[in-house]
Symmetry: C2
Subunit: 206 residues, 2 copies
């Protein structure tokens, strides 16, 4: 199909598609004449993925590129590829000064986590921020939350293991992790409102 049809079917304006092409988020079409390219169903799928990572995943363009590179790279070791893809969409490393606390948390839950996993610093950073803001009551429940997160992580890996090909496993891990964050945030707000209604007997007004 030509770019106009790609735009119509995806609902994405032609100038935006051209921008994605320039940024390398969408592979070039097949040239059918010096000034015209043809696009296939794989371009339509890729456009939907880019759009979703932008709008729902709220990833920056550079983050989307990293994720797409991981999805596209053929790798004999699917688990290493998964690790790289998950790190690409993970929180960035900073220095929070509470690493020891995260080490202890990981050890209390018997988790096996690489010493260089960026998520260690991400968790440390949130713990430091909660303490700085004096909102420490959530920290009293850190182990309860970690246990529930542990069960969510197991569900995530089960959905990955259900896939038939290494490419599908990496795709499922990346999409499931990004979209899963949003899904859990939404489900958590529904559950908070319901818990508040149960506890106080009236509904929260929107």
């Amino acid at each position: 199909m030509r770019i106009a049809e790609l735009s119509r079917r995806s609902g994405i304006p032609v100038p935006t598609i051209k921008y994605y092409l320039r940024e390398g988020l969408l592979p070039p079409g097949e040239l059918s004449s010096p000034n015209q390219a043809r696009y296939g169903e794989e371009h339509l799928r890729r456009l939907q993925l880019v759009r979703t990572l932008l709008e729902i995943g709220r990833l920056p363009i550079a983050g989307i590129k990293e994720v797409l590179n991981e999805i596209d790279r053929p790798d004999p070791n699917v688990h290493a590829a998964m690790g790289r893809a998950l790190n690409a969409i993970g929180p960035k490393e900073t220095d929070s000064g509470v690493d020891g606390e995260v080490d202890e948390l990981i050890s209390r839950h018997g988790w096996r986590v690489s010493p260089t996993a960026p998520a260690r610093q991400a968790v440390a950073e949130v713990i430091a921020a909660l303490r700085r803001l004096g909102a420490i009551s959530l920290l009293d429940r850190l182990d309860d939350l970690a246990e529930l997160a542990g069960r969510i992580g197991e569900i995530d890996l089960e959905t990955v293991a259900d896939q038939q090909t290494p490419e599908d496993m990496v795709y499922t891990a990346v999409i499931g992790t990004i979209m899963g964050d949003r899904l859990l945030a939404g489900l958590r707000r529904l559950a908070q409102e319901s818990a508040s209604a149960e506890r106080y007997g009236n509904r929260l007004k929107s």
Copy 2:
């Protein structure tokens, strides 16, 4: 203290503090002369809150204003205030076309949720996106995830109920919800890596 000391103690540059003052994210200091204002500990605390909502909560300036308005507004009905504050930091409403599915999910879990809660649309939007992207294996586990989110929501409300004043309850609800999303995302990635190590017997490389 003067603005220079406020900057030194908060680690936030003076021009940035002036920007927050202009945007109404920080209340004005007390004028000690026509050109000079004095700031107190409450300004320092507010600066830390704004910084955290920006950097870790990744809220836009307008979203931070909404949250601060809710924290500042004295309201005899703490639960209504909590509802407004949580909606202010919640996902924005869109039309996804899968509302009926979310209604059924809420009803299966016996949740009490207002028909206009923005989180309904947020969940519907993620479900629609997962289906569009062909990543449906996570949807097969939707009820398992909802059950775990339900337990997280109960923990959240318990931390709110522990607070002594209505102001502290709203503050804890807002901070706990925003920071909790980040905390859970980090814990989930640690758990995913560990579940992958357990399942495949090797650690994910970073």
